[in-house]
Each structure stands twice: as C-alpha cells, then as structure tokens.
Symmetry: C2
Subunit: 225 residues, 2 copies
Amino acid sequence: MLTSALAETDLHRAFAVSPQRKPRAAESAGQIGLAMSFARNAEIYAEGETAGYVYKVISGVVRVSKLLPDGRRQISAFHMPGEMFGFEANELHHASAEAVVPVKVVAYKWEGVLGTEKQSASFVRELLTLTVLGLRHTQDHLLLLGRKNALERLAEFLLEMSARMGGSAVLELAMPRHDIADYLGLTLETVSRMFAELKEMGAIRLESARRVHLLDKAALKALGA
Amino acid sequence: MLTSALAETDLHRAFAVSPQRKPRAAESAGQIGLAMSFARNAEIYAEGETAGYVYKVISGVVRVSKLLPDGRRQISAFHMPGEMFGFEANELHHASAEAVVPVKVVAYKWEGVLGTEKQSASFVRELLTLTVLGLRHTQDHLLLLGRKNALERLAEFLLEMSARMGGSAVLELAMPRHDIADYLGLTLETVSRMFAELKEMGAIRLESARRVHLLDKAALKALGA
DNA sequence: CGGGATATTGACTCTTATCAATGCCCGTGG
DNA sequence: CCACGGGCATTGATAAGAGTCAATATCCCG
C-alpha cells in the first residue's frame, strides 16, 4: 500500500488560509476580474468548495490536486502564468488548487462568463478550446502514470517544464521534490534517485536541487516521449 | 461519464453533415449525422488522423487509448451508449478509438460548432459542460493510476461500470482482461489475481469471466473510493 | 466436439516503496 | 560574520507489490 504522501504538518501548511481567499463580489463597476494574491502553499480553492470562479495565473505557479482520505495525493497539473484553471461542470470544485510559490491570479465570475447569451459566445468557445487542451494534457498524463517507469516520467516532466519555460536548457523548478513526486505518481526518494540517474547518464546537470541544466535533450526525449 | 446533455435537435442543427466525406464506412448518409457500424476491435479513428467529427455511441462500447512505440497502451476511457467522444482542440486526433464489441455510432461534423458565428452560446456551453465532465473523469483516473493499488483500482473500476450500467449488482463486462488492465495501468495477470482476491473477500462473485456479481458494494466502496 | 482465444494460477524477478540516516542550503539571530 | 536550526534533498538498506515468464484451465464459436 502506498502510504501517506502528506505528513500532518504538511497538511496544516497546505490548508493554511491566506487573508483574502474568497473572491468577493466584484467591487469595481468594470467587473473585469478580481486580482488576488496567495502566499506559498496557500489554498486558492478546496475540493468540495463552491466553484463560482475561473482563474488566470498572472505570476507564480499553481498546483491542482486531489487527496485521498489517508493523505495520498495526486497532482493533476501545474499552472504557469497565462494559463487558466478552475473550470467545473457543476457548482463544486472536484479538486483543490494551491500556490506552489507566491502567486497572483485574476478570478473571473463563472456566471458572468456563461450567463449572458450573445456577447459571451466567443469567450465560451475559447473556454471550450482551453478545456479540450486540458483534457488532452490530462490524457497524456494518464499514459505517463499508467505505463511509464520512473526514469521516463522524470525525463518527460523535465522536457514539459522546459517547453513551458520557452524551451530553455536551464530551468528553475518552482516546486519541491515532493510535488514532483505527487505529479509523477512516485515517492520523493524515487524522484531524487532518478535525478541522480539522469545526472549519471549525462543527460542533465544540477546546479542546485531546483536549478536543472538539460544537457542532452535528445536523450531525455528518447526516454520521455 | 460524458452522458450527452445535448438535445437531438441541437445536434441536428449544429452538425449537419455532408455525405461522401470521412468518416469512412458510412452506412447511411443522412443529412443529420452519419450512422456507422464497426466490428469488434475495428478502428474508429487513429491517433494522428485528421479529426473532423465527434461521435455519439448508439450501441456497444468504445475504448479510447494511446500507444507507446514499444506497444505499451493506456486506455483513457470506455464510452457507453449515449456518450460522446472524439473532441479535439486542433485538427488531429491525439488518441485512437476502437470498438470493444460491435459498435454503432453517429458521427457529427465538428466544424458546425466552432466555425459558425450563429451557434447559440447555450449550445457551445453544453459542449463545454461535456468536455469539463470528461476532464473531471480523467482527473479522477489520474488519482487512480498515480496513487491507488491494484485491488483499489479494480474495485473502483467495478463500481464505475456498475454505476454506468444503472447501478445493477450484476454486470456484464464488455471488455477482456487485457483492456481492463490497460485501463487500470496493470497487467492482465494482476487484474485476474485481484478478481480472485475480491472473490476471496466475498465482495464479488464471478458467474463467468465477464459476468460479475457485486455482492458487497460497501466493501468495494471502502476500497475504491 | 474441437480448437483458438481468453483467463487463471504459480514461481520467480524486479522496480519502486518504505524506513532511516545523513547532508545541504539558506535565513535568522546571537 | 558565523553558528544554529529547519526544511529540503540525497543516499542506503530492505521490503513489498506488481511484473514477467510459463503452465494449465476454461470458454466460446464454429
């Protein structure tokens, strides 16, 4: 049995609530969106909570995850600046979202987006496209979790992060090993060992735990793709 | 999942199909949707193929999967009668779809939705809802693949199938062990052993390999949920 | 009936998890 | 400015769960 991915203290930290957690009714007449800030590990929304808003990342990195009663956690996605998250089919969030690092987002009222008829049609189409893209990413991730080994998973992860950072060969990982593990369906120890193995192979170099140099992207692609 | 919330009439308007195009194997070229039949294991569409249509299952069961070059396969979903599949963000399918058993589907032209300006926002909205529901299912499946053990996976699978068959305690599995394994990220031998274990526990009874009696749903829920 | 596909069961291996010790980095306070 | 401490990461030893390989068993479908 896979045991707890979160220690008691981690849970406390993860569920710490930052001051202005709830998007309040738009105060400005413009009602474009509501800017909000979250501290590291602060909760943006929780599983089971009422879902009235969609969010766009302005800065920082957000993780979306689901938790089992015994603490096992699966992160379904990390969201970077420019990306949107928080879409729900009904009124409740079925996953939770937290700030990996200090985060700024803009919250848009879901009702405002979908409620009116004509003016929002193009925006709804755009949301549809975004959601289909999210679905595709998630299906790719199913393949990773269901059928790839630890080394392949980490290689794919590094390539994905690199691609989303503009393809740079040096990348700064915002998240700790623990989060990477919960994204890749591994333990943090295994993630650490796979870093060591990629290092050994000469595929990467670690300037620090968080700063990774991708030396041989072809080798990583051979593993991860 | 993905039970269609679309009224027939909406579909008819949105997906008017011109005859004589892909999808192949059309049996009747109605103006509305294209009825098609597929034999067991026949391909409905392939990964990388041009995606011009969305599909609705009329009868049978469809599996959607992705394949690695070395043959490892991950099934992301089984689709039952009434459900829709085949949504794509761009012009290519990023997974393939095959008939698990003899299948009848109706294909609708996708262009009707995103292309024209006339479509009502409420209609696009319904498509969005379907896609978001698909995303939710896929994210739940991530948790299963990333963090649950073999017994839990099979228990959840059986409950899911039961729920989609209307909650009956006796269920007829359309797919072989191999497909279940590729859906659950296991080998067929492990699936077989977990069936034996659930049997041993008294949670299920196998009338045959494909016909399963769910004797103790509570026990299954304790495992799978 | 017979035969191929499908499923079960067994013996053994291997990858990854678990448990545990140590190391490292960085911010804080003396 | 250095020492301390806490969070984070690495590394090691061992265990467990699932995979692999292989031998039957069973079920359809002709």
